[in-house]
């Protein structure tokens, strides 16, 4: 029995004269790892931003875990993102002024958890991702792979229902890339977290359960990935 956690219907979005999305229907199953592929400028980032409630589509709807995001105010969508969604980007996503622990603890603090409880959980997540010795380091003194692991820990520390990862290994070499992806997918599969993974890279997409291709604002196909 299909159990979609995200259901997008008829999504359109324009930026001035540019039509980024031209009527997309997409469903993502609970616990699924979905790869969204496509060339630069195809609209895949816009699609993910609509799915995550970062921006509102011009038309169409997005239902995430039973909540219609398009019917919510910006503040309500912010609350949904805080409680049910995690994000990982290619780079520049950690706050440079904070230690790894503080970076990871931040979403919990934003959600109203105590500092002590937030730090305890943050350190546990850093340990889980092999960064126990780097808890007090600032992002500037870490390697790219370590920084991405911190970002993954931060995205998952609130135990989100969905993790959006936009080229999470795009700035890493192949060894680090495999290590980071492996670690990320291990913990999300354990937790049953749904992952929407945007990537150019077929080898990265191969880690997904399913992949869709966005081209000129439309979904051009859905495939089962070929194992790397």
């Amino acid at each position: 029995m299909a159990d979609p956690i995200i259901t997008a219907t008829g999504l359109t979005k324009s930026f001035g004269p540019t039509q980024a999305l031209r009527g997309i229907d997409l469903s993502v199953e609970r616990g699924e790892v979905l790869a969204v592929m496509g060339p630069s400028g195809s609209g895949k980032s816009t699609l993910v931003h609509c799915l995550a409630g970062v921006i509102s589509p011009d038309s169409g709807s997005v239902v995430l875990d039973g909540t219609d995001l398009t019917a919510l105010s910006p503040d309500q969508r912010a609350k949904v993102r805080l409680q049910r969604i995690g994000f990982v980007f290619q780079f520049g996503q950690l706050l440079p002024d904070l230690t790894a622990t503080d970076n990871v603890a931040l979403p919990l603090l934003m959600a109203g958890r105590s500092r002590r409880a937030a730090n305890t959980q943050a350190i546990a997540w850093l340990d889980r991702l092999g960064l126990g010795d780097h808890a007090d380091k600032s992002p500037g003194s870490m390697s790219g792979g370590q920084a991405q692991r911190v970002a993954i820990a931060r995205a998952l520390v609130t135990r989100p229902a969905v993790l959006f990862a936009d080229e999470p290994t795009g700035s890493l070499d192949s060894v680090s890339s495999e290590s980071v992806l492996g670690a990320m997918l291990e913990v999300v599969r354990e937790a049953g977290t749904t992952v929407v993974l945007i990537t150019h890279d077929a080898r990265t997409a191969a880690y997904a359960d399913r992949e869709v291709i966005v081209r000129d604002g439309l979904l051009s196909g859905a495939y089962a990935p070929v194992p790397a």
């Binding site: 980032s45 931003h49 970062v54 921006i55 910006p74 503040d75 912010a78 609350k79 949904v80 993102r81 805080l82 409680q83 969604i85 994000f87 980007f89 290619q90 520049g92 996503q93 706050l95 440079p96 002024d97 904070l98 230690t99 503080d102 603890a105 931040l106 979403p107 603090l109 934003m110 959600a111 105590s114 500092r115 600032s138 992002p139 500037g140 936009d166 080229e167």
Partner: protein
Amino acid sequence: MKPGAARILVLHGGAAYRRLAGIVAGVSLGVGLLLILLGAFLHMPDRDARSAWVDPQGAWLEATEDGEVIVPAATSTVMLAQSSQDYFDGSIISVMRMATAPDTDVTLPSGLAPPAPGQYYASAAMIDVIDAAPADQLGQRYGERLGELPAEMLKGPSQRAVLVGAGWDAVANRAGAVMLEGFPSETRYSASTTFQVILAIGAIAILVPIVLLISIVGQLGAAERRDRFATVRLIGAGRRAVAWLSAWEMAAASAVGAVLGVGVAAALTPLATRLTLNGATTYAADLTPSLAWTAAMVVGVTALGAATAWWRAFNDDVGAPGATRERAEKRVTAWRALTLGLGVVLMVGSAWMARSGIGPVVLVSYGLILGFALIAFGIVIAGPWLTRVASSALRRFASRASAVVAAGRLERHPRSTFRSVAGLVVAVFIVSAFAGSASAIQGLIEPKDRPGLLDPHAVAASAGPGVDAEAARAIVGDIEGVEHVAIGYWPEEDEASGALMSRADARAIGATDLPSSEGAIIDVFGMLADNGEGSGISIEPPRETSTAVRGDVSYVIAVTDGTTASIERTRTALFGVANPDLAPLTRADYANAGTAEVTNELAIMAYLGMAIAIGISALSLAVATAAAALDRKRTFGLLRLAGMPVRQLRSTVSIEATVPLAATLLASAGLGFGVAWLMIEVLGNGLSVDWPDPRYWWAIAAALAIAAASVTASFGAVRRSTELESTRFE
């Protein structure tokens, strides 16, 4: 680098133009204010020289062994002069009496003829006062008006001065009369050095926030600028080329700003002329430096701006794009408190030397001034360290996300975060030092608080020779508003000091604890001058006298109904019986003749300086906060993406401004009062520091309100710059 390439690199879009416009505006404001202060500084001796005749320096007249003045011969080349003070409605009037021979060759500035006995010249401000008051309250004191004193003879437009013509013998027999060759051009005492030091400190107090403002504006769009310069480095430009590009850019902006600053100075001068400086408002010419000084200022500011930009760009090597990561500032340590500590040690040491009488006075004075300057700069230098210490504590104990983000930022960027509030902090230090000092100046003590003081509505005249008591009672007693006339006599007792007075008269002027005898020796001068510990004078209690023998009249004291008209009418009438060397005066007049007027003048200057510093600092704070929000667009955008509400972002921005202020404002106010305490308690004669007057608290409240408004004004920028619709995440 080719000019075309440089133009593309420097003038790229609205943000770059705004940055350059901000630098130009900051420089023009700074140069404008500095030109006015420089003009005042340079012309301060001229002001003293012009009004030197008010307190002339000449040869004292010779006297016989029994103290009788030997009246010199009146010749055509010399004149006699004697200066004194008169009072009207709480203000001091400078009066100089002069006498010349009938065939005199002595000329006055602007070709004025020397006044004959019974004639006078008055300054424009004095003429206004004389014309506004009935003649029996003021005009009758000086005789027939001959004309107006020209600007060449005055410190400034508001100076109240009178040049009175008198007979040769009359002037010679006045206390303090001097003989001069020609009209006086040298003063006996000049306060210009003191005021020059005050102006220099004021210039520093204003300059610090302006330099900080320019520095903050120069950092606008820093992140984008670094990327651009990094790209230039990548495609082959050397480190020096980038440094020179920055230098030329700053030189052009500084030059334009400096030239505009000359216009700003011209525009602000009419306002600045209203400021009272060393006893008078200022002529515009006295606030305008020469063309050479103005040119030197423009060239100097331009060169300084260019050199600073070159040095910063050269040492802040941007490298190639992508190769650098977000960098924390170099760690600030406790060594930054060294300058502040040195200032405190110097200040305390100098005060101790002064109290102990060790070392020359000049050394002590310079030690105090240098100590003050070191403390002021020390606060700016130590501020980032205090900010880091406070933010470390905040980071440790913060429980909210906004506080954690703010603490992280503050701990890694204490210099730039403190810079935005540094001007405010220095302004608070200086005004606290002044307000603390001013708090020691006592107001007039009322007889109800200290029985035995002279009635505050009484006008006391030291009697001239041969005054007849009954005639004096008749002259003064008939004046409207006079309620009682008391007469004091020289007691004919060798050991006695004070005035012999009847019980009724003594009681009428305010004396208490009178002996049972008919007459008593009353300390009239003590009753007039005693104003608490700070005055250094205390009343001798009335004493019973063994003799009723009276000498000549020594005092004529009229108790009035207290209205200005009655007091001034009485004063004018008392001139007829008073010692010509001493104007009749009230207790308030005596107290004002001391330091109160100068202190009030300095207080106005200090508060004005603080207002300017606060205004500039508020602008700095607003620019810095908005610029920081724009530069951290990505960080704030990510936080909003992750679900942080805008109110938490606002809270972050507020905390980032509040912590450096809180960490240093209290310390700077405390240091200010500490300096005041040193100056007053250690060096003062029995004075003590008290709570400052309400103006201080208003100034502090205004500073905090403006700071809060500046931060609030940046909230819009925070929201706009982090709109998720316009932010790209990848």
